[in-house]
């Protein structure tokens, strides 16, 4: 069983907070301790209000860190009370955060890395691209959104020279249709697929990768009460388990990036 990651609680100061697409915000938080160690696929938990409502912290993947300047960024979809509070935060406001949480993900050393993102699922994939300049030539980034309004300006969020293909459900930007339809044409021998996005999309990605016998990793977003392995709430079912207690495993602790072929979708 993986160890509890060493995380810290920190008062993070909002350095910027603005929309990058319809209902989607980019927030930069000054938080030296978290920024110092945060790795791709890890996440932070934000207390969106100092009172009791919302009650639990809200988890967000890290997009990009500047370890020297001591900040990191997140991108969030405004979908409920917690993210609504975040959306009205002004520069200088503070949030109590925990992090970094979850296991860092290190991509394989060789072969193509096919990154398949949907909506705000772009975040951990973008961090991977930022964090591994040495692998960028092997990366192909496929990005899906409902429509153009919901598609951020990816050039501003990704490192330069990354091969990028867009898809929207209504065709207003890029390929018309699901981003999963783009996978086939970008598979080369020795491709690893890494995905984050809506559950149904990731399940589809895993299926396609499975059919082609490609390794596949997915960053899950199960509901989390604690984020640090204490509640056993955020579990996902594994196909194989030697003992009953290993049938369900904690996404916050073993993931959020998991082997997409090992779990029950």
């Amino acid at each position: 069983m993986p160890e509890i990651p060493h995380f810290v609680q920190e008062q993070a100061r909002v350095l910027s907070n603005q929309p990058v697409a319809k209902g989607i915000y980019l927030m930069r938080l000054e938080a030296p301790a978290v920024s110092r160690t945060c790795q791709p696929a890890q996440f932070v938990q934000i207390l969106t209000d100092p009172g009791l409502s919302p009650f639990l912290r809200r988890p967000f993947s890290a997009l990009r860190v500047d370890r020297d300047a001591g900040w990191f960024e997140i991108i969030y979809d405004v979908i409920g009370p917690g993210t609504e509070r975040m959306a009205v935060a002004k520069i200088g406001d503070e949030f109590d955060i925990n992090g970094p949480l979850g296991q860092p993900f290190v991509p394989p050393n060789t072969g193509r890395l096919l990154l398949v993102g949907g909506g705000v699922g772009l975040v951990p994939l973008a961090f991977l691209a930022w964090a591994h300049p040495e692998r960028r030539n092997d990366m192909v980034y496929l990005m899906g959104a409902a429509n153009g309004h919901r598609m951020p300006d990816m050039a501003a969020l990704l490192p330069q020279n990354l091969v990028l293909h867009l898809a929207t459900d209504d065709g207003s930007v890029g390929h018309k249709g699901f981003v999963t339809q783009l996978i086939a044409e970008h598979v080369v021998p020795n491709t690893t697929v890494i995905t984050c996005g809506p559950h149904a999309m990731m399940a589809q990605v895993a299926k396609i990768a499975g059919e082609r016998k490609l390794p596949c990793f997915a960053s899950l977003e199960n509901h989390m009460a604690c984020g640090f392995g204490a509640c056993m709430g955020c579990v996902v079912a594994y196909k194989e388990a030697t003992t009953p207690d290993l049938q369900y495993r904690r996404v916050c602790l073993e993931g959020p990036m998991v082997n997409a072929h090992a779990i029950v979708w």
């Binding site: 199960n222 509901h223 009460a225 955020c234 079912a237 009953p244 207690d245």
Partner: protein, 307 residues
């Protein structure tokens, strides 16, 4: 100032603040998070005789000032627990309480017996109150006879102090408390979670895979306090109060009405070191109110003005 307190069967802990079962793993794995020796005690996640997978996800959902969980006692079973979890637990310098749940009096007793020869476990907490266990669990806690008998069965074989944890989902919790006291319980802990439910109005399905779950967090604190009050008025063994304790104010309310100790559960999920802040806060309060011993605070409730 002396914050130490007795929680039953001669077990004295250094301060009245413990980590509640199921909300802090098996305890020892959080040694990197903060200094566990500062805690009064740790209660480990409830174990059962056989390993259990637990319930179908989703298992948690937020509710107003609280949350529902339907974890379902995921655990590796008693053998693996004793092999893998007890040694690191035993190494902790705090009150080490192991929570157990059986499906019969015999199984409870058999589990308790296993701890007789082990070092490093200071007490057992009998979970007769889990709403997430279909066979046993809360069933024992819902009847005076069943609660009494399981306590007696465990007491007959165990050499450890026995704390019995009660469910709030009953008509007369004080009567259950009296029954377990008569069964020989050394201490009583309460409350476990309240039965609750949530529905996703978009899919028109229960949010939890298990349909219902247990409600915890600040929302239930008033209920926990009333039930603890009912129990302390009826039993003479130490009572450990819990349910929604998040701040030092909450903890003080329980101590003032007569709880000898308190447990912190859900609050840890939001503020992982909530328990430490509560310990400091209790010390500050005692100092400000010139209370030399925790016992001067415990049960110091006065009647309402005008009564």
């Amino acid at each position: 100032m002396d914050l130490s307190t007795h929680i039953g069967g001669g077990l004295k802990i250094k301060n009245p603040v413990m980590m509640a079962s199921g909300t802090f793993g098996h305890g020892a794995e959080y040694a990197t998070l903060f200094d566990l020796s500062r805690l009064g005690g740790v209660v480990t996640k409830t174990i059962t005789f056989h390993a259990r997978a637990g319930n179908l996800p989703p298992r948690t959902v937020e509710t107003p000032s609280g949350m529902l969980n339907s974890i379902g006692l995921t655990n590796p079973g008693i053998d693996a627990f004793i092999r893998d979890k007890v040694p690191p637990l035993a190494a902790l310098n705090t009150g080490r309480v192991v929570s157990i749940a059986g499906t019969s009096n015999e199984e409870f007793a058999e589990m308790a017996r296993r701890f007789n020869d082990l070092d490093g476990v200071d007490a057992l907490e009998l979970n007769i109150s889990s709403p997430n266990m279909k066979d046993g669990g809360m069933l024992f806690g819902c009847s005076e006879t069943a609660a009494h008998d399981v306590t007696r069965a465990v007491k007959a074989v165990s050499r450890l102090p026995i704390i019995v944890k009660l469910t709030p989902n009953v008509t007369d919790i004080a009567a259950i408390a009296v029954a377990v006291e008569e069964g020989g319980a050394d201490g009583i802990a309460l409350i476990n979670t309240l039965l609750g439910m949530a529905v996703n109005i978009h899919t028109r399905r229960p949010v939890l895979g298990n349909i219902t779950g247990g409600l915890s967090g600040p929302a239930i604190k008033p209920v926990a306090l009333a039930l603890t009050w009912k129990v302390v008025n009826r039993v003479s063994v130490p009572v450990i109060g819990m349910g929604g304790i998040t701040t030092v104010q909450d903890a003080l309310e329980f101590l003032i009405i007569g709880a000898s100790a308190i447990q912190v559960g859900t609050a840890t999920f939001v503020h992982h070191s909530a328990a430490l802040e509560i310990i400091d806060g209790i010390a500050d309060y005692c100092k400000a109110h010139q209370l030399a011993n925790l016992s001067d605070l415990v049960g110091s409730l006065q009647p309402p003005l005008g009564r």
